[in-house]
């Protein structure tokens, strides 16, 4: 067959004096092709869709995408889309829309999306949605605009004794194991004349005592880790707080998380907090690598 791409003419196979046309993939009924596509990842399905008209049609079959969406996708989709939008979308388009970050429609600065390869739920909670002790005191904390945050803003602490950042979240998580991270950076970065500059003047105190990272779920799963913050100033790091497992997607799982350093014998500062990330354990590395 070689690399003959024009491929329109059927091949004939002499078989006992009866010419029979050899069956090709494009000769299969559309629903069979769709059933083959179900066994591929979303990006592969979309790659196939671009090959010809039949594949394009087959790739839009609802059952393919229903198998890729989280089992409780209706509940999740309702958090970010209204009813009218939802009823108009075919499942493929819903999957596509959900695979982009979508802000929750309750005005809080939180986003959800599904990992496009696996369909697993991911969440990002902005610093603005976190409970930060002393956030209103401009001697300690400020919100700084930055395009290095998906929320365009991060919380920066100049200096403080009582460092406490926490939050909570509740949703019907699809079943699976999730990892929770704080995305933080030592120092304050800004752009001047197109160059990225890091202001490290306030960084202090993080090497004296460790920071306590903690999470707890509504069904009593807990994780604690103690860490000295010692990453390079000016680079974003994801501190892994711990993992939790969800087995029942039909009930809400609540999760509380915090990052504290409240030893008041020393001050600490020069730290930027962007967000908290909740990612499926299996894709966490990949998602973080791309941030």
């Amino acid at each position: 067959m070689g690399a003959n791409i024009s491929g329109g003419s059927p091949e004939f196979d002499r078989n006992d004096d009866v010419y029979s046309r050899k069956l090709r993939l494009v000769d299969l009924p559309e629903n069979c092709v769709a059933l083959i596509m179900t066994r591929l990842d979303p990006p592969e399905i979309c790659r196939l869709a671009r090959l010809n008209r039949m594949f394009r049609r087959a790739s839009s079959a609802d059952f393919i995408w229903e198998s890729k969406l989280p089992a409780n996708y209706r509940v999740i989709a309702h958090k970010v889309f209204d009813e009218i939008t939802l009823t108009k979308l075919i499942k493929k388009d819903l999957y596509a829309k959900l695979s982009q970050p979508n802000l929750f429609d309750d005005g809080t600065k939180q986003e959800l999306w599904i990992d496009k390869n696996t369909g697993r739920l991911c969440l990002s909670i902005s610093s603005k949605a976190l409970r930060i002790t002393g956030i209103d005191d401009r001697r300690y904390w400020s919100h700084i605009p930055t395009d290095e945050s998906r929320f365009q803003s991060a919380a920066y602490v100049q200096q403080i004794w009582w460092f406490e950042v926490g939050g909570e979240f509740e949703i019907q998580f699809p079943s699976g194991t999730y990892s929770l991270f704080f995305r933080i950076q030592l120092g304050k970065t800004s752009k001047r004349l197109g160059r990225r500059i890091c202001n490290s003047e306030h960084i202090h105190g993080w090497d004296i005592k460790p920071v306590r990272f903690q999470l707890a779920t509504s069904d009593n799963q807990q994780a604690v880790s103690l860490c000295y913050l010692n990453n390079n100033p000016g680079s974003w790091s994801h501190y892994h707080v711990g993992d939790f497992k969800v087995t029942n997607p039909d009930v809400s799982t609540g999760i509380k998380f915090s990052m504290t350093q409240i030893d008041c014998t020393h001050t600490k500062g020069g730290l930027c907090i962007d967000s908290v990330l909740i990612l499926p354990k299996e894709c966490a590395k990949e998602v973080i690598g791309s941030q």
Binding site: M1, G2, A3, N4, I5, S6, G7, G8, D13, K22, L23, R24, L25, V26, D27, L28, P29, C32, L35, I36, M37, R39, L40, P42, P43, E44, I45, C46, R47, L48, A49, R50, L51, N52, R53, F55, R56, A96, S99, Q100, K116
Partner: protein, 152 residues
Amino acid sequence: MSSKMIVLMSSDGQSFEVEEAVAIQSQTIAHMVEDDCVADGIPLANVESKILVKVIEYCKKYHVDEANPISEEDLNKWDEKFMDLEQSTIFELILAANYLNIKSLFDLTCQTVADMIKGKTPEEIRSTFNIENDFTPEEEEAVRKENQWAFE
């Protein structure tokens, strides 16, 4: 204990005698047996002899019981050898498994094709499967846009 035999007739007029217990792995045949219309043999208008032979071979292998135990690992190896076929034969098997409603064979054949697609570039897929691009330039642009999200 003698096993009940039934006769399957391919579209090109060949007859195959098969144990009923083996044949009813096909839901289609199982229903016909239930409805008791198999006395004169079962005509399979959509299945050529060349393909029916392979289907029967599969069903015989998968008719597993205490007298004929087999490990999953051995079955997987056998599946691989069994599916070492020309493309067109694989597609004929997909159609036959679909028509005869043999879920495990249908799953195996579809998975085999899916595995042939995985990891290939669009050009490689086109040439492997002889797929003609029948889009107009406008359609090509539209389909590229509507699938862009998967590659961002």
